[in-house]
């Protein structure tokens, strides 16, 4: 078991190396010569060459990649071209709204999607099942910012139940914090719910055909207990897997949701960085989110043995 965990952790190293190589190449092939920018308009080609040498920009690609990776491993994500602040510090400031949004969305989506997926499997091929699956197709199709605008229009502008935009930090109280996150989380959660509900239904359909379910039924177990205790346990592996894979949707969607709801998070930082062509910040964001994604899916892999004791490594 321990060897499996270690092997699995080691397996993420090449994955992160590919990500790092891609992210580094981004800056490497980015248009514009940083040395020329620093040297200014009056600089002679000699000046530029000297600055380039002092920055180490004239050295081979792989050496620069190695040094850059070494810096990253020490938590140094470089310096923003635009603000001259360390990228790590720039990312640390807006991380709370983004993490809050993602955590609330994740919790809400799982709590909604798994039960409706279970019900759809239980009621397979009935009107309820069709309705749930139709909703899932809709959830896949309507983009997150469209859902966001519709929700904000109905529940904030017309009904005035919830704030239209903005964010209140957790430290200022749970009620205003969650109030500002309900609509964004609903918008962001739709596609995620669709994904999880579909997978839950498929996994449950398979499990419900098995003999032990018939045995449990014959034993006289209630419908709810049968579905949510006996069957769901055995359908857990694909569901947890898709929750992990779906994190990519959540991360990408968060950028857009923050723009719609004017949440000052990483998404806002990213959008600003794109407009300013602030490559180090874009690099930092891509690297951070990819790392989060890899770690989440590593954690998912490691839960398999807990969820299904038959899986032994």
């Amino acid at each position: 078991m321990l060897t499996y965990i270690i092997r699995r952790i080691l397996a993420t190293i090449p994955v992160m190396a590919v990500v790092a190589l891609f992210v580094f190449s981004l800056l490497y092939i980015a248009p514009g010569d940083p040395a020329a920018v620093i040297a200014g308009d009056q600089a002679t080609p000699d000046d530029v060459a000297r600055i380039r040498a002092s920055l180490g920009l004239d050295r081979p690609f792989l050496i620069r990649f190695g040094e850059w990776s070494w810096q990253i491993l020490h938590g140094d994500l470089g310096t923003s071209i635009f603000t001259n602040l360390p990228v790590a510090a720039m990312i640390a400031v807006p991380i709370e709204p983004t993490l809050s949004l993602m955590a609330v969305t994740l919790a809400f989506a799982v709590l909604v999607a798994v039960p409706i997926g279970v019900v759809a499997a239980w009621q397979a091929d009935t009107l309820i099942d069709r309705a749930i699956m139709a909703f899932a197709v809709l959830g896949f199709s309507v983009p997150v910012f469209v859902i966001g605008y519709v929700l904000a229009y109905v529940f904030a502008l017309q009904l005035d139940w919830l704030p239209v935009q903005g964010y209140t930090p957790f430290a200022e109280g749970v009620a205003p914090w969650i109030e500002h996150l309900i609509l964004p989380a609903l918008a962001l959660g739709c596609v995620y719910i669709a994904l999880i509900a579909r997978t839950t239904r498929a996994a449950m359909l398979e499990v419900l055909q098995q003999d032990y379910i018939r045995t449990a039924r014959a034993k006289g177990i209630g419908q709810a207990g049968l579905l949510f205790v006996h069957a769901l346990k055995n359908a857990a592996v694909p569901i947890v897997t898709v929750i992990g894979i779906g994190m990519a949707l959540l991360i990408g969607g968060a950028v857009v949701t923050e723009t719609v709801f004017a949440i000052p998070g990483i998404g806002r930082l990213t959008v600003d960085a794109i407009l300013r062509r602030d490559y180090p910040v874009i690099q930092g964001v891509v690297l951070l989110f990819s790392f989060v994604y890899v770690v989440v899916n590593l954690a998912v892999d490691l839960t398999y043995t807990v969820l299904d004791p038959r899986i032994r490594y």
Binding site: V18, F145, G252
Partner: protein, 321 residues
């Protein structure tokens, strides 16, 4: 005497047109004694209506797609004006009989912009679907058939797949000018890993099929096996996957344009129109809602088409999802 080619020809394989058509019965079913009533072939309705009846998702999705395609093609003849014509005097007009969808903050006619926007969305969707399929097919076939390449190629794909697709496209777009071509390239790049992974997994399972063994035993060369025996069998799952790639590409294009990393502001795309309406949306929500509705309906159509094709082409998958 039983020559191997016969086995190969009759081997039931998952994605062959015979099983896909649904109506054709397999030889093994025909010899089974005392078929229960359920399995008796039902006389299918014929023609287009019969097809639509059996595959409502394909019919609805296809009809919507066709409508959107016609709108994109005939945008100049559908009562539109120049979508980029500025008219500051009549800016932010509410929808009316003169301006069906209203005008934006520069006085441009939103109806015209939305109709021309269909061109951008469909171009991006179709181009990415085709390019990503071709690239993914090549990579997946190579990885699935050449064991030495598999490890490296798949590690690279794993790495690229761990970058959320929208961020990957954003990062690529940050490198270049915004243009429709660049948007297509960036999104294609972000979609390739998933497609090649799918192709590879299909290839790996096809390799073990008896008809491939038979071809090998008959002395067929590897390129010929790939071309004649593997490739045709990947086409059905690829078609389904391509529709999902198309839907995803349309959404990503709109998102890129919406956050300012997509098509240039001079090109009327649905994402751009929404991005321009963003500042005013609380007072002029129609600027955002019309392109949003068109985008949603188009993506829905493609997804319905994909689901329908999946059910029609691969009955085993249909039961699972």
């Amino acid at each position: 005497m039983n020559p191997p080619p016969v086995t190969a020809a009759t081997a039931p394989d998952a994605f062959s047109p015979a099983t896909a058509a649904g109506g054709a019965t397999l030889p093994s079913l025909a010899v089974a004694p005392d078929l229960p009533d359920l399995l008796r072939p039902v006389a299918p309705r014929r023609g287009l209506i019969g097809f639509a009846w059996r595959h409502p998702a394909i019919a609805i999705g296809g009809a919507l797609m066709l409508a959107m395609l016609l709108i994109a093609l005939f945008a100049p003849f559908l009562g539109t004006v120049d979508p980029t014509a500025l008219a500051p005097a009549r800016r932010t007009r509410e929808p009316s009989s003169a301006f069906w969808f209203g005008t934006d903050m520069l006085g441009r006619d939103i109806y015209s912009r939305v109709l021309y926007g269909a061109r951008v969305s469909l171009t991006v969707g179709f181009s990415v679907a085709i390019l990503a399929s071709v690239a993914g097919l090549s990579i997946g076939l190579v990885a699935g058939f050449m064991r030495w390449a598999d490890g490296i190629v798949m590690r690279v794909m794993d790495g690229l797949m761990s970058i959320p697709p929208i961020l990957l496209a954003v990062a690529l777009m940050a490198l270049t000018r915004g243009s429709v071509g660049n948007v297509i390239t960036a999104i294609t790049f972000a979609e390739i890993p998933r497609v090649s992974r799918l192709v590879r997994s299909v290839v790996l399972s096809l390799r073990e099929q008896p008809f491939v063994d038979a071809a090998v035993a008959a002395g067929t060369r590897t390129p010929m096996i790939i071309l004649r025996h593997i490739l045709p069998n990947t086409l059905a799952p690829m078609t389904v996957q391509a529709t999902y790639v198309c839907a995803s590409a349309m959404i990503v294009e709109a998102i890129l344009s919406f956050i300012g990393a997509g098509t240039p502001p001079t090109v009327p795309s649905w994402g751009n129109i929404m991005a321009e309406g963003r500042a005013l949306w609380q007072v002029k929500p129609y600027i955002v809602f019309f392109p949003a509705a068109f985008l949603s309906v188009t993506v829905l159509a493609v997804n319905l088409l994909g689901d329908g094709l999946r059910d029609a082409l691969d009955p085993r998958m249909a039961k699972r999802l």
